[in-house]
């Protein structure tokens, strides 16, 4: 008998980091997870979808069916799995209230568990909650893109301009190589 060293790292569930970088997105499918609540988020993802297309990516938009409060999440389950199987990169939002942050981060963690380069998008007020929930899901260094608060309630033109202004930072957070 002899003592050998394990070739695999010791992993702790709590410290999974931030997930992989996106690298080049040209030719890749970038999924944008929308919710049911925030019209402003629809506008933001619409602008980002256009920008992603200009950068050679193929945007794929999916709307999570979950509601606020204590609703079951099972209804979107299979469809969501198919969405994760189809995409190469995930942008998940919007963390803009307690419950919706919970659902958005739930889906973010699922994307990370799927091995996808993933960024969660949160308004500034909900950054601590988003990070706490992601950390409890095992992802202690979540890629998080912050947006100004409040976002909802601003005129559409203004929200779209904010989206365009924040797009380069979104790519930085994802570690996109252009």
């Amino acid at each position: 008998m002899t003592i050998v060293l394990s070739p695999s790292p010791v992993t702790t569930v709590d410290k999974r980091g931030s997930g992989p970088p996106a690298g080049s997105i040209a030719g890749k499918k970038v999924g944008l997870r929308r919710d049911q609540f925030w019209l402003s988020w629809d506008w933001v993802t619409d602008e980002w979808a256009k920008a992603l297309k200009d950068d050679g990516a193929e945007p794929v938009i999916w709307r999570a069916p979950v509601g606020k409060g204590d609703k079951e999440m099972a209804e979107g389950g299979e469809e969501f799995e198919a969405f994760l199987d189809d995409i190469d990169v995930a942008i998940s939002g919007l963390c803009n209230c307690g419950s919706c942050t919970l659902w958005a981060i739930h889906d973010t963690v699922a994307a990370l568990d799927h091995g996808l380069p993933t960024v969660a998008v949160s308004t500034e007020h909900f950054e601590p909650l988003a990070r706490t929930l992601a950390g409890q899901g095992g992802w202690d260094d979540l890629r998080l893109k912050l947006m100004p608060y409040p976002l909802e309630g601003r005129p559409e033109d203004e929200v779209r301009a904010i989206a365009r202004e924040h797009y380069p930072e979104l790519l930085e957070v994802l570690e996109v190589v252009r």
């Binding site: 606020k68 409060g69 204590d70 209230c97 307690g98 419950s99 919706c100 942050t101 919970l102 007020h125 909900f126 601590p128 909650l129 706490t132 929930l133 409890q136």
Partner: protein, 94 residues
């Protein structure tokens, strides 16, 4: 449990405010039953929703307890702590 200022538990309780303050809610610490040794490791909180505009926006009651408990245990580095929340949204007022 008596949450004393400057202790790890107090820091942990202060930190969980950020889980609800985005929606306009807040936690108040409340003392537990006096002279009850079994209560020594239980943190009692009351959820104040008076300034909240969207009740559905606040983390759901059941999940809120789980998330707060996990957070306090991690910050205080003590897995024996449990949390009870007096949440006005619960039908029986508990």
């Amino acid at each position: 449990m008596d949450v004393q200022q400057g202790t790890p538990i107090a820091s942990a309780v202060a930190e969980v405010q950020m889980l609800v303050q985005g929606d306009g809610a807040r936690f108040d610490w409340v003392p537990g039953p006096a002279d009850d040794p079994a209560d020594d490791k239980v943190v009692h909180l009351r959820l104040d929703l008076t300034e909240v505009g969207c009740l559905d926006c606040v983390l759901p009651p059941g999940m809120l307890v789980d998330i707060v408990q996990t957070s306090i245990r991690r910050t205080a580095d003590d897995d024996s702590i449990s949390v009870e929340i007096d949440d006005p949204r619960n039908a029986d007022g508990s």
